[in-house]
């Protein structure tokens, strides 16, 4: 069988003495939206931070299209095509929305294609176009998330990783952002979505993994996960 587009095998990682991930295996196929669900402290954010190079793994492999990524620097992982939208958006305050978006293209040569991509992001998120010259800190939560997603696609990623898409946002904003994710996905970008709001995650994703205390405990298509008794009990609150 051909190797999947993005493959994580036996990944272990943590902070100093504290081990957070205990041999995580996940796969993302080309063009797929995969979600990662789990409770607080399960290690979802640590997994993304390890995949993007902010935290160095202690064991295991990360491969995209056959290229080994585990242990590389952030900038090398990013230029290989893995972009990370961090939890809490993390925009550059005091910089305008446009400059924040352009920061996403930091590693690219500044040429016409960057302006075209900027145009595309502005078309996808008209609110950002309206506020292009405003300080990014003055945006609402939903707009900030748009800006963060826009910034990450400015690097032309093949895989987009999003940490807590819906955190602290109004339901309407989450809906809008979900639609744009589907649009980005249709343009050929695979997506790994970390989400506490399990229903939102399973609505968007084709497949899902359940992470619990640093281990993958379940992997199935979204419809199956939605019906799985363990998931319903633990994360949705229905019995």
């Amino acid at each position: 069988m051909a190797e999947p587009f993005f493959q994580v095998k036996g990944l272990e990682s943590g902070y100093g003495e504290i081990r957070v991930l205990w041999g995580v295996d996940i796969e993302v196929n080309r063009g797929e939206i995969v979600c990662l669900i789990g409770s607080n402290g399960a290690g979802k954010t640590t997994l993304l931070r390890t995949l993007s190079g902010l935290v160095k793994p202690t064991a295991g492999s990360v491969r995209m299209e056959g290229e080994a990524l585990a242990g590389l620097e952030c900038k090398d992982i990013l230029s290989a095509g893995v972009a990370h939208v961090p939890e809490g958006r993390r925009l550059f305050r005091t910089m305008s929305v446009r400059d924040n978006l352009l920061m996403g293209a930091y590693l690219r040569r500044r040429d016409k294609s960057v302006d075209e991509d900027l145009e595309r992001v502005m078309t996808m998120f008209p609110r950002l176009a309206e506020r292009a010259n405003q300080d990014a800190a003055t945006l609402s939560g939903g707009e900030q998330q748009m800006c963060a997603i826009g910034r990450s696609i400015m690097s032309r990623p093949k895989l987009l990783m999003i940490d807590e898409l819906s955190l602290g946002l109004a339901p309407r904003a989450v809906e809008l952002l979900g639609e744009s994710l589907v649009e980005i996905n249709k343009a050929g970008v695979s997506i790994l979505l970390v989400e506490q709001d399990v229903m939102t995650a399973l609505d968007l994703a084709h497949r899902g993994y359940v992470l619990d205390r640093g281990r993958i405990v379940m992997a199935a298509p979204s419809e199956e996960l939605r019906e799985a008794p363990a998931v319903r009990e633990a994360y949705i609150g229905a019995s």
């Binding site: 902010l54 900038k75 990013l78 972009a83 925009l91 550059f92 920061m103």
Partner: protein
């Protein structure tokens, strides 16, 4: 920017005419100003642009002073010794920076503070090289007192101008851009592909180069150095106060802050001889309290509110 860097450069060049009008006391003040300007502008690179609260200035200064003194003692011509001292401080900063710049906030501050303490201990114990606690005398220069005063004044001012040009260049370049991103949000900078480790080390080295040379110049100027003098913790603290006074992360701010600090220090010293440290301390607290963004921030704010006011009356 409210104070254009070019004005500051012009002011620095004007100061270079000081020997025409002043006596040696004024020249001594001028040399102190230039030295403070070097220290403040250097700290501004790591502390202002990159936002890393470094207390390593004294380490670079003392290391430069001793490197310069030892090299001069071994027969290296004075200007070359100054240059070499800057390079020694820069190399030291590169090595230490790579080791401690992964620390953030208070942890980085403490680690950088320790650098000077360690160098102080090493210098004091390594008697065969440094003269230890007895200090080190520098070769006497055969020149009149007046000529010496002018020489060191111009040399120090020249160094201040170089530091200024460096700071100006950094603020407009890719390095300055990367450093400001790091100050805003280091994680996000990494995620968009800024090589944060590299740029932080570059900033640390840039904050050391000119300070090392200034230390060597200082050693040549005063003829005699001892460890507690050149590794004094005040050498680390003063530049921070100057930059805070002037405006952190700006090109003109550190120079303005250095001048303001020198004036304050001199006035307080003259009028409150026995309690000058206490009065200076209180003044600093008061200034930081009332001018949190420095003189430049204050001017900018005044201008902005003035403009708003103008709009209101127009409407």
């Amino acid at each position: 920017m409210t104070v254009r860097p070019i004005y500051v450069l012009a002011a620095l060049l004007l100061v270079s005419l000081l020997p025409l009008v002043g006596d040696n006391y004024v020249l001594r003040l001028g040399t102190m100003f230039a030295m403070y300007a070097v220290l403040a502008q250097s700290w501004n690179i790591i502390g202002g642009y990159a936002g890393y609260p470094s207390f390593a200035t004294a380490a670079f200064f003392g290391l430069g002073a001793y490197a310069g003194a030892i090299l001069q003692g071994n027969g290296l011509p004075m200007p070359l010794a100054w240059l070499a001292a800057g390079i020694v401080a820069g190399l030291f900063a590169a090595l230490m920076g790579a080791a401690i710049l992964h620390l953030k906030g208070h942890y980085f501050a403490i680690a950088s503070l320790v650098l000077a303490e360690v160098l102080l201990e090493v210098t004091t114990s390594w008697t065969s090289l440094t003269g230890g606690g007895m200090g080190l005398n520098l070769p006497v220069i055969r020149m009149s007192v007046d000529a010496q005063a002018q020489l060191f004044f111009w040399a120090m001012l020249g160094l201040a101008v170089l530091a200024f040009l460096m700071s100006w260049y950094v603020s407009a370049s890719r390095i300055g851009f990367a450093l400001r991103c790091i100050r805003q949000n280091e994680d996000a900078s990494s995620m968009v592909g800024v090589n944060t480790t590299f740029y932080k080390v570059v900033a640390f080295v840039l904050s050391a180069l000119f300070v090392g040379s200034a230390g060597a110049l200082y050693a040549s100027w005063v003829f005699y150095i001892e460890p507690p003098d050149v590794y004094s913790v005040l050498t680390s603290v003063k530049p921070i106060v100057m930059v805070m006074l002037g405006g952190a992360g700006t090109v003109a701010g550190p120079v303005i802050g250095a001048a303001a600090f020198l004036v304050m220090e001199e006035v307080v010293w003259r009028n409150f001889l026995s309690i000058h440290s206490a009065v200076l301390g209180l003044l600093i607290v008061a200034l930081i309290f009332f001018l949190p963004n420095g003189v430049l921030g204050f001017i900018r704010k005044r201008k902005r509110t003035g403009a708003d006011h103008g709009k209101e009356t127009a409407a």
